[in-house]
Symmetry: C2
Subunit: 331 residues, 2 copies
Amino acid sequence: MAVTSHDVAKLAGVSQATVSRALRDDHRVSEATRKKVADAARALGYVRSEVGRSLSTRSTHQVAMVADLDNALYPRLVAPVHDALMDLGYRMVVFAERGDEMSAYERLLDGSVDGAILTTSELHSSLPHMLHGKGFPFVQMNRVSALIDADSVTADNSGGGAAVGRLLHECGHRRIGAILGPEQASSSRDREAGFRGALDEAGLELPPRRVSRGRFAYEDGSAGFRRIMTQADPPTAVFCVTDMLAVGALNEARQMGLEVPGDVDIVGFDDLDVAGWPCFQLTTVRVDFPLMARFAAQRIVARLSGDRSAEAVHETVPTRLVLRETHAVNS
Amino acid sequence: MAVTSHDVAKLAGVSQATVSRALRDDHRVSEATRKKVADAARALGYVRSEVGRSLSTRSTHQVAMVADLDNALYPRLVAPVHDALMDLGYRMVVFAERGDEMSAYERLLDGSVDGAILTTSELHSSLPHMLHGKGFPFVQMNRVSALIDADSVTADNSGGGAAVGRLLHECGHRRIGAILGPEQASSSRDREAGFRGALDEAGLELPPRRVSRGRFAYEDGSAGFRRIMTQADPPTAVFCVTDMLAVGALNEARQMGLEVPGDVDIVGFDDLDVAGWPCFQLTTVRVDFPLMARFAAQRIVARLSGDRSAEAVHETVPTRLVLRETHAVNS
């Protein structure tokens, strides 16, 4: 005979309702009771049915993370979001983004998840707007759409960009270049804006011939760097809005026989693992991604737990310069 | 009034059963009909309910991929598995592995997924064994458990390891070292076995002082390399069973002022993107991960589509040497 939640309740000495709540990690149940119920369930070999649970509560306790798995940043985001959601009693389902908003929209609304963390929004993305129209709970993380004011958790991109601008000025650079990401990515836009603001304040220019714009991949960094550096009057320092772009630029500099630093400084943004490898030792801007993940998980769970306030909540995680070896103070 | 599948059927001029089948990408429905139904569904703003579908078919059309998101290999596996499953009408749910087999077991069996692709099996993992006991469909990918004979898709690790052994012998090396992964990982075990076999045939030894064993991370590569190279009679060539270990070793070699090649050759395995970066140009063994993903997706879908044969199916994808710049023929 199949073991039921009533058997578990009996063994644990609690009510059947408490068993249900404990097994879905409801925070109204004490840690001690949850452990007692889990032990009893394990002893009896009891496995909850998610399908049954969906029926009784119309809730799946699953949150989708919409992610671009081809982007080097995402491994840094997926695991912390997974863990943060688990801590809050939710599971993460990864929806790999393949540039088709209608298909993401349909998958999100089909009842298999309660809410979503969107990490691939572009400024003109209509997905957040459409989800909002349906009353579907979501939080934008890392990047936002400009078409709607919805909950978001982002890095202080503008502050980080400004810090790089000030650093390069203080290092004595007067001819400065930049390798930027897609115009539709708010992260790139905000990093650029902060950077330009700091250069403006210092009376420095960022002329179009010293700017390259592409996607966020390694190849965009290497190709962009070569393009900028082969113009007349090339820059003595290049800000790359992501580490992957900076690594591409750094490799291209070596191919071109340029010393970094010396001939040219290169500064990145994100502080991925690769930035700290001895062969790169990239000066960059650290983003606290685990904190970003925690904030995003807490926000979506707050929405799913009944926070229906119309006001959008915007959280920003701090950024800070990490000074390694691809910049130098010039006399 | 909510739009139902009957409305879609009417507009598309097909039966309601055909709408259901078309919307779950059932291959019995022609491409043309599927498109007609999809267009009608879109025109009416119809969104299928997964919960409703689970009820009627007891199938979620979801497959879990159990993955270790901290391992650099996984970004190479997740996207192709996702796409291959999508092509077959299934969705991928990522379960991040956190070393707790009981919790993975419970999540897999709770009714939220139809089957699983396990990519983190260790030789003594009991998870595959337990799932088999419950009749839960799964396929092991990349790594396998030794405790059970179940469907698997792996690389020709032994063949790849042997190719590296022969290469190093042909390059003239006589003192050879190796940086290995966890003893519990079949991928590392098989790569090591193939490598040792080729050295044996060539009459070469792999003494313990030239072998380092750790996890698969960058740090294990750099620490292992330093340990091996600071012994008496250090090797002139080191085989690393993964690219991430090789990149760690390569960086450590540079820190130690060693030329690669010249003072020491380093060969990896996997052919991750990083292996092709100009600053590494790592000689390595390429694994066809997209093919592995496709095989794994086809295998699990075959099981879910009624293939109940007791015989386990084992598929192997080929590996081949990629000769870049971290080895050299010595006179």
